[in-house]
Symmetry: C2
Amino acid sequence: MSLTRREFLMRAGQAGGYSAAFVLMQSLGLLAIPEAAGEASPLRLVDGKGARVVILGGGIAGLVSAYELGKAGWSCTILEARQRPGGRNWSIRAGTQVEFTDGARQTCTFDEGHYFNAGPARLPSTHHTMLGYCRELGVALEVEVNSSRSALMQSNLLNSGVAVPERRVVNDTRGHVSELLAKCIKRGALDQEITADDRERMIEFLRQYGDLNPDLLFRGTNRSGYKVPPGATAQLPVVNAPLAMHQLLDADLWQGMLVEEVLEWQPTMFQPIGGMDRIPFAFASRLDSVIRYGAVVSRIRQSDSGVTVTYSERSASSQAGETRLIEADYCICAMPLTVARTLDADFSAPIRAILDTVQYDSAYKIAWEAPRFWEKEANIFGGISYLQQPVDLVWYPSARLFSERGIVIGGYSIELGPAVGALPSLLDKADPAERSMTEHGYIFGHLPSIEAKLDASRRSVELLHPGHGKDLSKPIYVSWGHIPFNLGSWISLGWNDEKALATLQSPDRRVYFAGDHTSRLVGWQEGAALSAYRVINQLGERIQ
Amino acid sequence: MSLTRREFLMRAGQAGGYSAAFVLMQSLGLLAIPEAAGEASPLRLVDGKGARVVILGGGIAGLVSAYELGKAGWSCTILEARQRPGGRNWSIRAGTQVEFTDGARQTCTFDEGHYFNAGPARLPSTHHTMLGYCRELGVALEVEVNSSRSALMQSNLLNSGVAVPERRVVNDTRGHVSELLAKCIKRGALDQEITADDRERMIEFLRQYGDLNPDLLFRGTNRSGYKVPPGATAQLPVVNAPLAMHQLLDADLWQGMLVEEVLEWQPTMFQPIGGMDRIPFAFASRLDSVIRYGAVVSRIRQSDSGVTVTYSERSASSQAGETRLIEADYCICAMPLTVARTLDADFSAPIRAILDTVQYDSAYKIAWEAPRFWEKEANIFGGISYLQQPVDLVWYPSARLFSERGIVIGGYSIELGPAVGALPSLLDKADPAERSMTEHGYIFGHLPSIEAKLDASRRSVELLHPGHGKDLSKPIYVSWGHIPFNLGSWISLGWNDEKALATLQSPDRRVYFAGDHTSRLVGWQEGAALSAYRVINQLGERIQ
């Protein structure tokens, strides 16, 4: 969530100006724009003639690399520290162990058939590469309902703290905005900007946009739902009275309200039926002996002719293992940089500089099993409720709609806990809007125990669905900064860090870096897959 | 669609004022509002002790009536003119015959497994009654994606007539509105209305709302998508240049843009897996011998003690049939009023007056089978594209996403064809906005032949998806005004016709009227079901 939040803010703020700058440069002819750009990274496979590639990390970037290179005659080996593929693409089910770096341990006890996507949980319809793999590998998808007008919004400063359906915040806000702008136009405040003809058309547009009354006043709209719904008797329907703009400003629920307009979160979105990890397992089933599980890398050495990687091979039940060496012509380092920096590796100085200073966010998610009170009592089928609370969202399942029980996410955000070193500097750098958002993550991250965090999660669910906090059971708390072999959820690098990105996108002699952190789609599987395409293309060019 | 359009306009215009009036009256204490209103028509079943009820019409209202009364010891018989239950709830598949009153005949030749919901095609999540029946009767549902930001909008006056994704119209419009309002606030145009503190917060809100740049100007937003998408190479992303507000006003695509905010069309929406008629067939499977198919009613006579209905019983293959009589204690007339008015019935004068003057709209839908070019080439998965053309929408299937072929709706609107008598008066009464909308329906309805209508449909698809008009095959055109036993799609009655509604909601001696046309949810199955609840409650009170 927080990636998005930060990205969201960046885009709304600096990046809004950033993208605007590009539009301007483009229109001035200062930027060369390909006529039909299509994909930024089309895949070009070149016969590898048996060239050996060792791939560090069996997440999406590593899996795509091995899968595509394998098609073209390259000899790949993936070294994966865990006993499963996927990396952050991790679906937790009954029996799954969640272990933190500090030794905390949880075991999932969900009922049969339920799952919790602790990492990625949705596929935008614009992410062609990942959707293409689902098609190619036979991973069945279903719609992930990412926004629903029946989902709730809660602030202590709005409606006496009683949660209201999103439809009221969205449509009442639009109503107020339309009334105010219509008023200005009628007063002549925009006579410089708008022709008389357009003024009239603007007024007519605003009347529709905001559902204004004939006097161009916003006095409520049935778009915001009914206090008494229309039926089939003499009873007249009564629409909800509008929320006051002043209160809406107090509540400051804009981020949640605008989530549906962030490009990657716009409908239509998808999820694999049965869990996001259907994707890595589908890759893995095609990669057979290419993946070595339990292979914990410790050392990388490059020479003029190849790369040697040292790793220990561990069984599922043991923390120690046999030390092994693997020799290859090239290496794709597709592990998080937080892990790469712990290796004994002869990286170049620019790469080492990045590893030494790079910051990762630590996002968390909390999942609960519960009876579907949100569907039965609040007509909420999928979508996300937003709160101005330490746990600031509740995300409802799109899986198995209408069934008895489901997995609900009670919190997904950046968690700025003590284990994450970057907190003070991040706070220092944050702009006011980001700080107010960060504040909540901060409060959550500094809650003293897992129990306190679960209590905060339960409290947010209770605020949205009074009486149902007690219905939550079988919690699982995943804090990515504390997960071994991840040590963070995603890189804090932004698109403005062009220099760092360029370094990561260039080979360090025979080592190539892949992963969403080397793309402009940080936190998305699509970015990981496209980063693999870039590396594959670079390798192809090299051996041609 | 057209119901919605008309309703939409009514709500945006007059009804905006109407609902606003109620909010005002409510706040002034002039209207008694139940504290917790809940459903307008909760069902109260009373033991019928074998009382006989004859139900005319096996659409949703008739089916719900028989199903619920049957639970409570009433002895029901449904007379259904067709050989299937459901009325307008009609899913057309391979082999289905579509016959018009003028003798035109089509036979569906879809591939196995495809269907076309010629009538209702979506269930809002706020329609508890219908969703409850799906649950109770075991009708499996899936998400119906009713709006998608990747769907397209087309006007000859926008972007040189080249269709643009909905995300650009939505987000560029919001950007322009935000910039203009921010400008006005900075100029002091709203100093009377807004406190200094709120002014600052409004500006910050508008910055986020419209994705304005630091100078509070709208210069494009990545919410509207990219000309060059972000990838994993050095290539910088480039956002789409914003559409000019002047062009957006020219294009006048507001109705399509705001569809997603009409209460009944807000996400999350559903559809039965396999076709909407899974609902009536599920009812029918519980009603067994209660339904007499091929029973064409001709006469109704009431006495102090009962009702006698005359009908002819026809086989599937014959237009003539044996004349039969059925006696009952009560009658529920759940057929369209366009059909009821053709009966030899001793209705009261007020009912007769309604039957003599009532107007029904004639909506049409055209369905095609085609390869899923909209998914593969345009990332459109469900949702609806809108055009300013004679065929003004294209609705993509939510069923079997990602499969090879699908059924796409090329046109759904009111069709004001020669068979519908009300055209001139409707045009006279229409307000300018409605007239411009009606114009398109008019053009379509007056095309001279089915072939010309199919050509218009194909042309709209071609405008949205150049090169793919030719991929459309196996058309089916359903024009509800021409369908026997319907003679219209829905009543033209609005909520403001309280007197007519009150008459239809009161029994005419022993005859009770049910159907969505007797509810405030015209054109929705929910209205039909709630109308059945009203009648059941009235019958219960009567025999107690």
